[in-house]
Symmetry: C2
């Protein structure tokens, strides 16, 4: 019955109290000069009448929509749900709505999607760039979530330090010969993580990096990584640069009869949904996306505010904060190297030592 009721407007409140609509506006926004009593009366009337401000009218008048765009150039990224959730949360509590734009990875579609956002009048946008891609300067405030080594108004996890943490964890378990598994050399994030891992493992460790993307050029997508051979070769740990690769490594090892973690440890990054439910659950690093989202929204809000304070055009301030720390989540996929274990499934002990 009462569902379809048109919400009250400021004019109606004004009429009901016999004041002008400007006074109502001032009272509700706390901006002009309104006596305390009248202000209270107006607020109460607004409540009683079920006043809901018209975003459209406000947007028309002020030129600000209180909506930000979320641009996900690579939406198939399984981290997306978490990012979207965190951003939506942070944006909502900052009074912003979130309009999504996707581009199926294609640059043309991305441009089109961004264009639609701009036409819709978003106040700014948060971009999670496709690896290595640079965002063209549109006339709209932008905040970027990527690696700290990306220039611009960027927020991100401290991927390098994450790598260091994982490296130390593996080193402390006694791993000396570690295979790093990454996908693309183009990715700032992946490079940071690889660098951190090497640093964390220390200079004593012998480690090599397997770039899956390059391997797949010759062997075809979804090819086996040949990890069993690596185990035979003396590798005792496989540190992937994100959980999907870790999962790929884990299942390949298990399929080939290698016990994880007894014969080989496996680790990942990002703590995606499956990492905790597979057997064994995967040791990984969790990003604090709530904090990242909060900072990104905050940074964006700042730029927006300062832009319409000064009508000048310094649209994207270069403020680049410290990376947000990642937290190590230790599960059962990593453990001591086999020779430091008392007993174990010995049927595949073929390492050199």
């Amino acid at each position: 019955m009462s569902v379809g009721r048109t919400p009250a407007t400021m004019t109606e409140i004004a009429a009901a109290l016999g004041v002008s609509s400007a006074t109502v506006s001032n009272a509700l926004s706390g901006k002009g000069r309104v006596s305390a009593e009248l202000s209270a009366k107006i607020r109460q009337a607004a409540d009683e009448l079920g006043y809901v401000p018209s975003h459209a009218a406000r947007a028309l008048r002020t030129g600000r929509t209180a909506v930000i765009g979320l641009v996900l150039p690579d939406i198939s990224n399984p981290l997306f749900p978490q990012i979207a959730q965190a951003i939506e949360q942070a944006a909502a509590s900052a009074g912003f709505g979130v309009l999504i734009a996707d581009s199926r990875g294609e640059i043309a579609q991305q441009t089109a999607a961004i264009g639609r956002l701009v036409e819709r009048g978003v106040d700014g946008m948060i971009v999670v760039p496709r690896r290595g891609s640079r965002i063209a300067d549109i006339g709209t405030p932008v905040a970027i979530i990527d690696s700290p080594s990306t220039p611009g108004n960027t927020v991100s996890s401290d991927h390098w330090d994450g790598g260091v943490q994982m490296g130390r964890h593996l080193a402390s378990l006694g791993h000396q010969k570690v295979l790093l598994i990454a996908n693309s050399r183009q990715s700032n994030v992946q490079n940071d993580r690889v660098g951190g891992l090497e640093a964390g493992l220390g200079s004593d460790a012998c480690c090599e990096t397997l770039w899956v993307e390059e391997m797949e050029v010759s062997q075809g997508a979804g090819c086996a990584l040949g990890l069993a051979a690596r185990v035979a070769d003396g590798y005792t740990a496989f540190a992937a640069v994100y959980d999907l690769l870790a999962l790929r490594a884990l299942t390949e090892l298990q399929r080939d009869g290698i016990d994880v973690p007894l014969q080989a440890s496996v680790s990942g990054f990002d703590d995606l949904v499956w990492s905790s439910v597979v057997m064994p659950p995967i040791t990984t690093l969790r990003q604090d996306l709530a904090v990242i989202a909060e900072r990104a929204v905050q940074a964006l809000g700042d730029v927006i505010a300062e832009r319409d304070a000064a009508t000048g055009e310094p649209v994207s301030a270069e403020r680049n904060g410290a990376g947000v720390p990642m937290t190590l989540v230790i599960r059962q996929s990593t453990g001591p190297t086999m020779h430091s274990v008392v007993a174990g499934a010995a049927h595949a002990r073929r390492d050199g030592r």
Copy 2:
């Protein structure tokens, strides 16, 4: 330089051509009566001046924002990226923007999120309901993506038929004793899939359903499913009701030294990212989310259109189309039962036969 330029308005176009703004509006929308020549001239001027309609002004005048809300009560759902992508695509080509709303699974948050969407004046919303939850009737058009057995303005895959397809596939490989793995009895989708599986396997098959949620109540979250014992018991196939469960099954079996698919087959639903990269890749059913999204947006558009045609309040028409077919993706995690295989890793052959 030219980035921050304020886009031209209708009034400016009108001034430039010496006509009235109403004529410009009519020409661009094709609604009023404007001569062909003038119309062409206006359109050209609009192009040259870089006219961009003001969504805010239009929304204020017409009461329609050309934005729909996407409500994901359970955003951690790994299917979300695909859904969001498909919806965004379909919405964009229907001229809608997509505002996201998430609720971290909590009902209070969901209500709040929906409220924010309504206040923002979305023209309608697409809801992917939390299992079993019913959507309260807000005064806004709604389309639902769930199981066909959900009442209301619903679009969905034909989960039952998907189950049938998978059941037949497994039966054709010779599996007679199959364990179905599901999570919650509350979920319409899961129930449909289970029912379909049973039907597809045929009445000769012996199958039981493992409800993981119930198991975890007593054994704790992330507990082992005890599948190795099932294999010993004669089960040759494990049909999970979604890929995350399939992955859990696969890794548990592999960890316990059981070869997939030689000793046991594993299958899932939804074709999530990891399904194709694990070893062995998982046989699964893919939803045609593009079609689903298209239909949902279409249905929503219809309701929106008919609502502001008739000012009456029949907000949610009960139109419930046929389910969208799912397609079977056969990979290496399913295969013939072992005793019909010539050779195999025999070290774990403990089944009864």
